[in-house]
């Protein structure tokens, strides 16, 4: 009875109390959230808004909202579609080679042998070299006047004569891809090695007592444990590689004849050579959507794997 009588009054107080309880953690979180909003979402919103404006530094007076104009231009641009195709090619071939070499390296490093620590440190070195520097070094290696690679390749019969593959539109993409594979193997090796070392050893012992062969152990024990890690590293790495224009800009600058221009290098050229930030942002937004869709798919797969 008493409870009933006091209800109308106390419900509002209880509700306020509950609200403030609910709100309390958000107050504690607010500095972090504010920083995230300030440094991630605000710049992103501004960048996306550029895609709907005409912003060309060469014509600083003619700015303004242009609606979907930048996007219509994009879908009429043959270089854009060429770059999109090259992005797929560049990302897939770099990723697959990096992944398989990285996995192999991780498996090798997971065994016990002498000087293992030294070898581990050495193997991870490429990751520490600035991309700009490795791009320059590789482009010199491919140069027939000063670099050894063209001579070796022609001695092996891969090339008909020692020439620069970076000047051949059919082969040019392999230059940056090879440099990128060299550069990216350590990333997979480091992350996969960490995952390998967390697999309990007794599982392997049990498997070998049951008479499992090496391959069976790899398929039934190693792979299932590695799978979630593989999904996350492949996702991260794909996004990085697709956005990674440094090596291409340094080694070929998208050439010859646009045969190595990928979306991110094309965006770079549009923004900093043509000084057309509006159009560059439109392409960047497209790339962002593409990557988001891809990430959602991979995260879904990872979720399935973890079940």
């Amino acid at each position: 009875m008493m409870l009933d009588a006091s209800l109308p009054n106390s419900t509002s107080r209880a509700r306020r109390l509950r609200w403030s309880r609910l709100a309390e953690p958000w107050w504690y979180l607010s500095p972090g959230l504010l920083l995230i909003a300030l440094f991630i979402f605000v710049p992103m919103a501004i960048g996306i808004s550029y895609a709907f404006q005409s912003i060309n530094l060469l014509n600083p007076m003619e700015t303004g909202w242009v609606g979907w104009d930048n996007f219509t231009e994009m879908f009429d641009d043959r270089r854009f579609f060429k770059a999109l195709g090259h992005t797929l090619n560049w990302t897939l071939s770099s990723l697959l080679l990096q992944f398989f070499f990285g996995l192999a390296l991780a498996l090798l490093l997971n065994r016990e042998f002498r000087f293992r620590r030294w070898v581990q440190a050495l193997v991870f070195l490429p990751w520490a070299v600035p991309a700009f520097l490795s791009g320059l070094t590789w482009s010199w290696l491919f140069n027939p006047v000063v670099g050894p690679l063209p001579q070796w390749l022609s001695d092996l019969g891969v090339l008909s004569e020692p020439y620069n593959i970076l000047s051949d539109p059919q082969l040019a993409m392999w230059g940056p891809v090879i440099a990128n594979v060299w550069f990216g193997i350590p990333f997979f090796a480091i992350t996969l090695l960490a995952a390998l070392q967390s697999i309990p050893k007794d599982l392997y012992e049990a498997a070998s007592i049951d008479g499992a062969s090496g391959w069976q152990q790899f398929r039934r024990v190693t792979l299932p444990f590695l799978a979630p890690m593989i999904a996350i590293t492949v996702m991260l790495r794909t996004i990085w590689i697709a956005n990674f224009a440094d090596l291409i800009v340094v080694m070929t600058d998208g050439g010859p004849a646009g045969s190595t221009s990928i979306l991110s290098s094309y965006i770079f050229t549009t923004a900093y050579r043509k000084l057309d930030f509006g159009y560059a942002s439109a392409m960047a937004v497209f790339l962002l959507l593409l990557m988001t869709c891809y990430a959602l798919v991979l995260l879904r797969i990872r979720h399935q794997l973890l079940k």
């Binding site: 620069n164 051949d168 539109p169 010859p256």
Partner: protein, 423 residues
């Protein structure tokens, strides 16, 4: 009370003006074509200026060329306006047509060295909008380096005089085999000059536009010039790799004897002289077209002031100091440009056979310097991206010459008409 207030104001004013004057005596100089020895020489000149003008502070900002354009743009946008800026011809048009460069005419009028400058110097100073927006410090004029040994091996004993000889000599030298080719072609960034030069030579005119602002690149003669280069590449007169060659590749290709003819500016002489015996090569004027004329491209760089700079009266003496006859000769010899003063060819340094080609071009009326239309806002993009990509497509047979030239003409006509509209 009022007395104390007045005293305070006085102290504040004195302090402020002292701060202002100490600020005012600090000049900022921006160098954009940076290399360590070049920076050292510039710094030496600035130090000399400082000893002559006690109390002057000079801060030298050296931007690496690759990022100079963006860096300077960022500096200007953030209000950090330098007092003296090294201004390449390719940027002069952009900054002048955005009305950002100081008009130097009144100052040039009162400078006693102005009458001694060559006519070309003053013409280039005024190239952007008719008013002097820079004091050039030197010229880059195109001439033909030729490898005497390779010519001899191919049974030739003199450099090509006409475009036809140029094309046939290149094929003949390429037949030597061993990876040797006739022409050091620049298919990568910076190849624009050669395209424009050969198109003008075959067309017999240095004009890029008619009066209405339509590009003349689609005239039959000009297309022939472009086709000549395409044929030369596709028929082996230039190396297969050269589709992607830039400055370093063509110059090293020339001095290592991989290719026999190189069109370059005097600054390339520095690298070539160090790696090649002086008897093994010479520099000839560019080959002439059917009209008997050649149009070697001319480039220039100089010193400019920005309108927003707050200490123009202090910056001008520094510009005149850097541009005086002694300093200009020292600087030109070092960076490899042709000097801006009349009679410079009398200097013993310029009397070698290697320089003969350039001074013949400067003094013979059949060699008309070709000025790139750098006054166009979109020239930088045309020069570094459009020409590179589309010419590579054509050289590799993915496009044909006429289509390529039509695209260029369309872009340039639009730019020129936009420029004419603002005049």
């Amino acid at each position: 009370m009022t007395q104390r207030f007045a005293l305070k104001t006085l102290v504040l004013a004195v302090g402020l003006s002292a701060a202002m004057s100490s600020l005012a005596a600090k000049l900022t100089v921006v160098e954009v074509i940076t290399s360590p020895p070049r920076t050292a020489l510039l710094q030496k000149m600035l130090d000399e200026y400082k000893t002559q003008h006690p109390g002057t502070e000079i801060e030298l900002i050296s931007l690496p060329w690759g990022q100079a354009f963006e860096k300077l743009g960022t500096m200007l946008q953030s209000g950090q306006v330098p007092d003296v800026v090294e201004m390449p011809d390719t940027w002069q048009g952009l900054y002048a047509s955005n009305n950002m460069l100081e008009d130097l005419e009144p100052r040039l009028k009162s400078w006693d060295a102005t009458p001694q400058l060559t006519d070309k110097t003053l013409a280039m100073a005024r190239a952007a909008n008719g008013k002097a927006t820079m004091v050039p410090y030197g010229f880059y004029l195109r001439a033909l380096f030729w490898n005497k040994k390779l010519f001899q091996q191919a049974g030739l004993n003199e450099p090509p005089k006409t475009m036809e000889e140029f094309a046939s000599d290149a094929q003949r030298i390429s037949k030597l085999g061993n990876g040797i080719s006739g022409y050091c072609m620049r298919g990568g960034v910076g190849g624009t000059n050669a395209w424009m030069m050969f198109m003008a030579a075959m067309n017999g005119s240095p004009e890029f536009f008619d009066k209405q602002g339509n590009s003349t690149l689609t005239e039959p003669g000009a297309i022939k010039g472009a086709q000549l280069l395409v044929d030369m590449y596709q028929q082996g007169g230039a190396s297969k790799d050269s589709v992607n060659w830039g400055f370093n590749e063509i110059v090293s290709g020339f001095y290592s004897g991989k290719c026999a003819m190189l069109d370059q500016d005097p600054d390339a002489l520095i690298a070539i002289k160090n790696s090649m015996a002086a008897d093994d090569f010479a520099v000839a004027p560019m080959p002439v077209g059917p009209s008997g004329k050649a149009f070697p491209t001319i480039g220039y760089t100089g010193w400019s002031m920005f309108k927003q700079s707050k200490q123009k009266d202090l910056a001008w003496p520094l510009i005149t100091f850097l541009s005086d006859k002694t300093n200009n000769l020292t600087w030109s010899k070092f960076v490899g440009t042709l000097p801006i003063y009349k009679g410079a060819e009398q200097d013993p340094f310029y009397q070698t056979p290697q320089f003969a080609g350039w001074f013949k071009e400067l003094n013979d009326p059949n060699y008309v310097p070709l000025t790139m239309p750098t006054h166009l806002k979109g020239w930088g993009y045309f020069n570094s991206v459009i020409v590179k990509e589309s010419s590579q497509e054509t050289l590799l047979g993915e496009n044909d010459t006429e289509n390529m030239v039509k695209d260029w003409a369309k872009y340039l006509s639009k730019e020129q008409k936009a420029w004419l509209a603002t005049q």
